[in-house]
């Protein structure tokens, strides 16, 4: 079951980096890694992001120990992300398959990770989101050529931020999320983690759609002022 989604994923990744690009990205990863290691001084990062050097090490050295660390940190989060989807297809088996799909994709696509475009956790989140979407698409037997990786591209061609800038932004978002009023954070959680659209959140909570919308607008608006 993992095979077909992986093939698509690998293809779209290879399209981004032709044989030449692949070499370039490894070189730039090495540069980025030096910078990051200086600022973190640790190979087992604990907080928000700093899993980037580990991911870069996986890409560069195909390091299984590093991959094991990454697995132990992210696998439980991916499993929760699968379990918390509000869908008739949600099950512990589905969540474990999701862990398997996502971690395998992380391993195979690690060379596509570019720290100047996104942090490791953002990168892994987008993979998990795409895999979860594909899982539902297949469970519903949706008949289309389109896979999630076509509709939610993994990374932009032109990264607007330098890596330091990007890291600062994510740190800001992180602390801003912590300060959100609980009702706004709750709406975001339902959308991002439970996979509900605005109108489904309204239906589930009994709130008017306008209220759901204004909570999202306030929350995202507040985060944007920090960027």
């Amino acid at each position: 079951m993992a095979t077909s989604s992986l093939t698509t994923a690998s293809l779209s990744c290879a399209e981004e980096t032709t044989s030449n690009g692949l070499h370039d990205s490894v070189e730039s990863s090495q540069k980025q890694q030096t910078g990051l290691m200086q600022s973190t001084n640790s190979s087992t990062p604990a907080k928000t992001d700093d899993w980037s050097p580990v991911l870069i090490k996986i890409a560069k050295d195909r390091d299984r120990v590093a991959f094991g660390k990454l697995f132990d940190h992210f696998a439980p989060k991916i499993k929760s992300y699968g379990m918390m989807l509000r869908s008739q297809h949600t099950s512990p088996q589905m969540a474990e398959e999701l862990v398997q799909d996502v971690m395998l994709k992380v391993w195979l696509k690690a060379h596509c990770f570019d720290v100047s475009k996104a942090s490791a956790s953002t990168w892994i989140f987008t993979i998990a989101r795409n895999c979860r979407t594909d899982f539902i698409r297949k469970a519903n037997r949706t008949d289309t050529e389109l896979s999630a990786d076509d509709l939610w591209p993994m990374a932009e061609e032109e990264g607007p931020y330098t890596s330091l800038h990007q890291r600062r932004i994510e740190k800001n978002i992180h602390s801003a999320v912590a300060q959100l009023p609980p009702e706004q954070a709750d709406v975001l959680k339902r959308i991002y983690i439970e996979g509900k659209s605005h109108s489904e959140v309204a239906a589930a909570t009994g709130l008017p759609l306008g209220t759901v919308k204004s909570r999202v607008r306030l929350a995202v608006g507040k985060l944007r002022t920090l960027l």
């Binding site: 290879a14 132990d72 439980p76 996104a118 509709l151 609980p182 991002y192």
Partner: protein, 248 residues
């Protein structure tokens, strides 16, 4: 930057992955034209990563509370060693087989030259032979439609083509319609829409699109329910009595 962009709710639903595939396709096409929206989606992805990092499977606690007590203990409790071993087995087998075929596959994919290349990647995949080779059906003198196989059973996904200077019959929408301009431009009472512009017409809104004089206009549209034509010739040109899902 496009003048007509998806609002923050559309972009949030997109970044969270909750939009139906057909509507996500419209947003993805818009993003391929609009750096400003792409930047916003990147921020919303970062937000998603934080929600994801804080998500633990006890649904009563709020993410904001979780942030304060960063998870320490749950790191390995829910993942059994069998699954871990299985993933490690898989990376051993995939690693050797997968990598070289990726590169050859991408090279041959790039060979498919011609008109599909002018389309955003996501759309080109649905239209491998190019726009001209689609099965265009005339809906009157100015308007043609070609349905796309986007696999959405409850929405009609199609390209619409208005000839240069053409006027589309006044019509209202019984369901929401999302439109993204791909080529050319058209206008209605609300403004002029250029390539990349994203517009949403809610059920009941009437409009009468007119293509610009200089070129035909091609749009991607995703319609939630049939459109009702309100002008003359209704009997002749009302093709939307029933939504047809594209088939291949």
């Amino acid at each position: 930057m496009s003048h007509f962009r998806p609002d923050i709710h559309w972009l949030t639903d997109y970044a969270a992955g909750t939009l139906p595939l057909s509507q996500a396709l419209c947003v993805a096409v818009h993003l391929s034209f609009c750096p400003e929206s792409r930047k916003q989606v990147e921020q919303l992805n970062s937000l998603g990563a934080i929600m994801f990092s804080n998500a633990t499977n006890d649904s009563d606690s709020l993410p904001s509370e979780k942030l304060i007590s960063e998870p320490q203990t749950d790191e390995d409790e829910s993942i059994n060693q069998e699954l871990r071993a299985k993933v490690f087995d898989l990376i051993d087998t995939k690693d050797i087989k997968q990598q070289p075929s990726e590169i050859t596959a991408s090279l041959s994919a790039n060979d498919s030259s011609n008109k599909a290349e002018l389309l955003p990647h996501c759309l080109a995949k649905l239209i491998p032979e190019g726009i001209d080779q689609l099965d265009w059906k005339k809906l009157g003198t100015a308007l043609s439609v070609a349905r796309l196989p986007a696999g959405d059973g409850s929405r009609e996904v199609a390209l619409h083509k208005i000839k240069a200077g053409g006027r589309v019959s006044n019509h209202d929408h019984r369901g929401r319609e999302v439109t993204v301009v791909l080529q050319g431009s058209f206008s209605d009472q609300n403004g002029l829409y250029l390539p990349g512009d994203f517009l949403v017409k809610e059920a009941g809104e009437e409009h009468r699109p007119i293509a610009s004089e200089d070129a035909e206009c091609i749009c991607l549209s995703v319609l939630e329910a049939p459109v009702k034509f309100t002008g003359p010739l209704t009997g002749l040109i009302n093709p939307f009595l029933k939504i047809k899902t594209g088939t291949r």
